[in-house]
């Protein structure tokens, strides 16, 4: 009796120790990465300007001539972004998401994606703020450290908002025929989702 208790206690201690070690390591990694992110832009700016100057580039004039195009690029994007965001906004407001969730839930149950997380997964490629809203709601309800919370966080962190990226990037140069861009992007999103489900079952399951 006492033995079992002692073993259990020892186990718990070992687990906690392992967890703290992992947490400490991760936070060191995070600190380094954050420092790197914060320094990246200043370093790039310094190198570009100083190296440009030593190569006899007229830095100020060159900057102005490049920056001039900023306005037209931003304005070019407007029609593309209006088209896609309006369609997505209308789709969300109509309540079609609920039907889509219903139709797809038998399939997603099979692969181990909880039904509650499905709307967030479907929203991810369509709308960044929309999916973040749904995921925040999920985590408020189930807790950020629940399986659903961790899974939703993982797939939010693992892909971009495909339709937004396509509209903005192609819009900026006036490309209307996108060929296989959407298919490739969505295949990537699907793979990201499936692998998020898989790895979360392995790591947190």
């Amino acid at each position: 009796m006492f033995n079992t208790f002692a073993y259990a206690a020892a186990d718990t201690v070992r687990q906690i120790a392992a967890q703290t070690a992992a947490a400490a390591q991760e936070s060191l990694f995070v600190t380094i990465m954050k420092g790197f992110s914060n320094l990246a832009v200043p370093i790039v700016l310094f190198v570009v300007i100083v190296l440009g100057f030593t190569k006899k580039v007229k830095v100020y004039e060159t900057f102005i001539s490049g920056a001039k195009e900023g306005f037209s690029v931003a304005v070019n994007i407007i029609p593309y972004l209006v088209a896609i965001l309006v369609a997505i906004g209308m789709f969300r407001a109509s309540g079609a998401m609920a039907y889509l969730t219903q139709i797809l839930s038998p399939v997603t149950n099979l692969i181990g994606l909880p039904a509650e997380a499905l709307p967030a997964a479907l929203m991810r490629p369509l709308s960044g703020s929309g999916s973040l809203g749904i995921i925040t709601e999920l985590m408020t309800k189930h807790g950020p450290d629940s399986f659903i919370g961790r899974l939703a966080s993982t797939f939010y962190g693992s892909t971009e908002t495909t339709f937004y990226v396509i509209a903005v990037y192609f819009g900026s140069i006036g490309i209307r025929k996108t060929r296989h861009a959407i298919a490739s992007g969505l295949i990537g999103d699907l793979a990201g989702l499936l692998m998020a489900v898989f790895i979360c079952h392995v790591v947190f399951g």
Binding site: V48, F53, G66, V86, E160, I173, K177
Partner: protein, 212 residues
């Protein structure tokens, strides 16, 4: 894109009618149109800033150095782009900015890369294979620290808001591999190949001719 847009719009209108939500649907249209303009115009300043910096980088030869540094990978992903082309250097900068989660820099750099890619495009309005590949890399982009979601987790009282970093990096690496593979394979489909604005006009000497 035509079908995606058509389906989103038609389904929204039909389902909205069934649910008696049509008013909300039209309100959403107006709201999101404004959001789209806000986002676009919000890009002007940061866009101008990075385009200015990138112009200096180009004339100073930095972009060329970057392009040369990743020639083997670039050759695999973007066989259509001549080596040393500035587009490769700009794309590399965009992808690194994505890794580091610098979204303020990533978008302007990405748009600059699209501009550089467009110089290699023989058409005005049709995407090239290289553009699709670049977007595949971007839509599945790897972020080493997804700060947004970590901040939300921390706010909601997570014991370890960072614990999803490793799972995210794993999932996004897989997503990237899948998207790149898809872009590589899909460009061989007959319909997609035909729409390639840069395809050689010569009469095809079929390599395999075993298309099903």
């Amino acid at each position: 894109m035509n079908y995606v847009w058509l389906i989103l719009m038609v389904v929204a209108l039909i389902v909205g009618a069934i649910n008696g939500n049509l008013e909300a649907v039209t309100t959403a249209a107006v709201e999101y149109a404004e959001v789209a303009v806000d986002i676009s115009l919000g890009l002007i300043g940061i866009m101008a800033f990075w385009l200015g910096i990138m112009k200096i980088a180009e004339e100073g030869g930095i972009i060329k150095i970057l392009s040369r540094a990743i020639r083997p990978i670039a050759k695999f992903l973007f066989p259509e782009i001549p080596p040393d082309h500035p587009a490769i250097g700009t794309m590399l900068m965009n992808i690194i900015a994505n890794w580091l989660g610098l979204s303020n820099a990533a978008t302007p750099l990405g748009l600059k890369a699209m501009k550089d890619l467009q110089t290699l495009n023989k058409s005005e309005d049709t995407a090239t294979n290289s553009m699709v590949m670049f977007l595949a890399l971007n839509t599945a982009s790897i972020t080493i620290i997804p700060m947004t979601i970590i901040a939300v987790r921390a706010k909601l009282g997570s014991a370890n808001p960072f614990e999803i970093i490793s799972t995210s990096v794993f999932a996004s690496t897989c997503a990237t591999i899948a998207a790149v593979t898809a872009a590589k394979l899909l460009k061989r489909l007959p319909g997609i190949r035909k729409s390639n604005p840069n395809r050689e006009p010569e009469t095809p000497v079929e390599k395999g001719g075993n298309n099903v």
